[in-house]
Point group: C2
Chain length 357, copies 2
């Protein structure tokens, strides 16, 4: 583990994106989204993914100069075509449109097709905060998850993020995969060669397994809940709703047809839609009640939950977004620790693309 | 268990609501919502709850002649004041308003305060289907759920329902508590004196318990996921989002301040809002893409999931709404089975209010 400054990693990402042809504003935007993951401690979704995006670009699966467009719209809705560009760029574009609509008619809701991986869901949701809006962000993803009773992987980890502004308290920022555990958590276990808790995974026969590498051997991640008795049908429902709003509503690929993020797996030759899909929402607070009233009540909500009587003294009740915000503050100051394998990837990208790391 | 026809139970509910002063249209609407639970097999939320509503009425906690009003609105949003009436009436009122706004500007989003229990979440979401809208419905509820690490009960079972129209397939209708198990499931175990699976409950010290009556002895229901390792923080997040959209956005009570549904527990003398809160959404399909295209794709989605290769031959992958729809068809034909205790309650209401059962 070596620590790198935010500025150094951000500049590298910007230069790399520009090298493959991204316009400078898009390169900066994409780097912002990517680095927000590193800062917030979601290491799986930060610069560690740069090599993944580049491999997809090399396979002509990512368009570095997308003409993002609005396909259809009403005062509170739109479908956006990402033109096969980075989701890291289409996401902020769509979220800005949602916020603009919220300013005009109270809320804005954008479904995006023809996109690619959009980084952490929370980044996009948080864009709404400075406009005094509640922000919502979700996306479908490579099929890795078996619905309850299924042997097949039909859904992605399909995350949901919601950001809510408060007055004196920091905002409530939730960002969660709809599986028991996010794929990033599993990758950590795989690297350490450790086993996973029961309830995270099934093997290729659909039986519960603790083998973290089970997922690469035809197994599947399990929907939040783990098994039927513990509500896995609810995790399956949540993942399905994300899939429908992100992709059936926009015309992107859904379910098992979602193109895999990894470049060594080819997309389905008979797609049902185009690219992957996202869904964004912005609700202007004062389209409901005065923003100051709402935010004062959010402060009460947050304080009451944070100060709840707990089972033991070690663990306080956590307000969603608190740990990530603390990590962000720390890493801006002390740097972002990267695994040696990630550093090696960045160095080889640096050589391949002749971009200084 | 004796079976009663839909018509008989519906008429009884209508007459009872009218007897306490509900205008006839409101009495019919409330009975429609209530009976939809009995038809769909959600026995805990149907006529078995009539006695609960009546006890609250007797304590002056339910207003039988509410003047429901719009407090504030924009083209795509509104806050509705339920005037302390039945949520069974305020819910459909707000959902109709959401659908009307969706017709005008693409989507409609209504947050409701000063309301009471609104029956099954799914009823309201399904109202959107005939308008070719996606319907969303959620509500907060009596605090029975302990967030991850908390010994205290700070959230309700806060359900989320989403209804999505399809073309030739029946609609996708999800309706789920954000806890591992709904309270109704627990009540069934309590009546049968059976123990609950681990992961459903904690006792008053916050320790895992299988004692179904633990909840009445100061214990708590657990958020979907059950424990931290299995993602209970995500169930806690979901319940929190429902609470915020339903109550902080409308000005209703939130978190531990939500007035209890049972009449023998008094509401907090220092409330933070007014009544309980709901949140409704309607998204007009063709505000995104042509409805026929969308619905054809929903058919593909539904068929692909329904026909997934399964782990065993007994259990197929279930499309949300399928079991409830089958139950509805069966019970309309063969009648609604009621437990003797429920029949006794209805008979005593019949005597008390001089309404023929």
């Amino acid at each position: 583990m070596t620590k790198y400054s935010f500025d150094r990693l951000h500049q590298f990402a910007v230069n790399l994106f520009m090298k493959i042809g991204c316009p400078i504003e898009q390169a900066i935007e994409a780097a912002n989204v990517l680095l927000s993951a590193d800062l917030r401690g979601v290491d799986s979704h930060g610069v560690a993914r740069l090599v993944g995006y580049l491999r997809l670009y090399e396979k002509n699966r990512i368009n570095s100069k997308p003409q993002i467009s609005v396909v259809h719209e009403t005062p509170s809705t739109a479908v956006v075509d990402g033109d096969a560009g980075l989701g890291l760029v289409a996401g902020p574009y769509a979220m800005r449109l949602a916020i603009e609509k919220a300013k005009n008619v109270g809320t804005g809701w954008i479904s995006v097709k023809n996109s690619n991986h959009y980084g952490i869901a929370g980044y996009h949701a948080m864009m709404a905060l400075e406009a005094d809006c509640i922000g919502i962000s979700m996306t479908n993803a490579s099929p890795l998850v078996a619905p309850t009773y299924s042997k097949e992987r039909l859904l992605g980890t399909n995350p949901i993020a919601v950001a809510v502004p408060a007055e004196n308290e920091p905002p409530f920022v939730a960002d969660m995969a709809t599986t028991t555990a996010a794929n990033g958590k599993l990758e950590i276990l795989q690297r350490k060669n450790e086993s996973a808790p029961l309830g995270w995974l099934q093997d290729k026969e659909g039986q519960p397994t603790q083998a973290a590498q089970g997922i690469v051997e035809g197994g599947a991640l399990l929907p939040l809940g783990g098994d039927r008795e513990h509500g896995s049908h609810k995790g399956y429902i949540l993942g399905s709703i994300v899939d429908i709003l992100s992709a059936v509503l926009s015309g992107a690929n859904f379910g098992p047809w979602v193109p895999p993020f990894v470049s060594f797996l080819d997309p389905d030759p008979n797609p049902v839609g185009i690219g992957i899909g996202h869904f964004f929402g912005a609700l202007r607070i004062d389209a409901f009640r005065p923003a100051s009233e709402f935010k004062t009540h959010m402060d009460i909500w947050i304080k009451r939950f944070r100060n709840a009587t707990t089972i033991n003294e070690t663990n306080k009740v956590i307000i969603p977004g608190d740990p990530e915000r603390r990590m962000d503050q720390l890493r801006r100051k002390e740097g972002i620790p990267l695994l040696d394998t990630v550093v090696k990837d960045l160095q080889s990208l640096s050589e391949q693309y002749q971009v200084k790391f």
